[in-house]
């Protein structure tokens, strides 16, 4: 169930994970898993191709960087990425408000 819920919003979650600070792949996945209370039931290896695509779309940029003495690919949210995240957040809020309105009636 969680996978179906998350799959449609994976991009938004990945963009949100790097909003506060640049992170490498494992840290992004760990942040999403931890903040979702372990609900991200998704093969973690498939997250990397999604990150590459977001980078290809100009929403993220990445570079090799030393983190804790090791070389990692670190992802940063671009200006376009911030705008895209804001748009998806608004869509998500409209969606949850609509669903809540129906469930609460």
């Amino acid at each position: 169930m969680a996978r179906e819920i998350f799959s449609g919003h994976l991009e938004m979650l990945l963009l949100a994970a790097v909003l506060a600070e640049p992170l490498h792949g494992y840290a992004i996945i760990d942040a999403v898993r931890t903040k979702s209370g372990g609900a991200l039931d998704y093969p973690e290896g498939t997250i990397y191709p999604a990150l590459h695509r977001l980078e290809g779309e100009g929403l993220l940029r990445s570079r090799w960087q030393d983190v804790d003495g090791r070389r990692r690919r670190v992802y940063t949210l671009t200006r376009s990425g911030k705008a895209a995240l804001s748009g998806r957040r608004r869509q998500w809020e409209r969606y949850t408000q609509s669903v809540a309105a129906i469930l609460d009636q």
Partner: protein
């Protein structure tokens, strides 16, 4: 020679499913390798035994085939477009080069700079002299109508 670890087998299986000589897929493999190291280290820090830490990491990553499939689906469009653009540019430049070679090396200089232009001026001067016109064959006039090089401008 020691037997490959689960991690090495997984990476080999994934590498076999990705395009070779592709910088982006090499980067993906490097990131998955880093992911393994981080995930195993985190599990060890939680007190799990090494084999259990590696097995948990593999489970969370998902099958190598799923990662390769996701890679094919998500392969950045920009990279594909970039690759196609480079191929197109190489084809066009090669085609132009071949056409020029076939034409025997065309003179790309401006018309007034070509050797035949001086010859044309000389010829027109002769024609002008015959008709009594003065100055019709000045180089400036030839420059103002470069498409007429090779034929004399009309006398007024």
């Amino acid at each position: 020679m020691s037997e490959p670890t689960l991690t090495q087998r997984y990476l080999s299986a994934l590498a076999a499913r990705l395009p070779r000589r592709d910088r982006a897929s090499r980067r993906l493999l490097a990131e998955i390798r880093d992911h393994f190291a981080d995930s195993v280290a985190a599990a060890l820090a939680e007190g799990r035994p090494a084999n259990e830490a590696e097995r948990q990491t593999l489970e969370r990553l998902g099958p190598a085939s799923a990662v390769a499939d996701a890679w094919k689906v998500n392969r950045p469009r920009a990279l594909r477009v970039q690759k196609m653009t480079v191929i197109f540019a190489v084809v066009v430049v090669s085609g132009l080069g071949a056409a020029q070679y076939a034409a025997g090396g065309r003179d790309n200089r401006a018309p007034e700079l070509r050797p035949e232009s001086a010859h044309a001026h000389a010829r027109c001067a002769t024609v002008a002299a015959r008709h009594g016109a003065v100055g019709v064959s000045k180089p400036a006039q030839a420059r103002s109508a470069p498409h007429r090089v090779g034929s004399c401008p009309s006398s007024r």
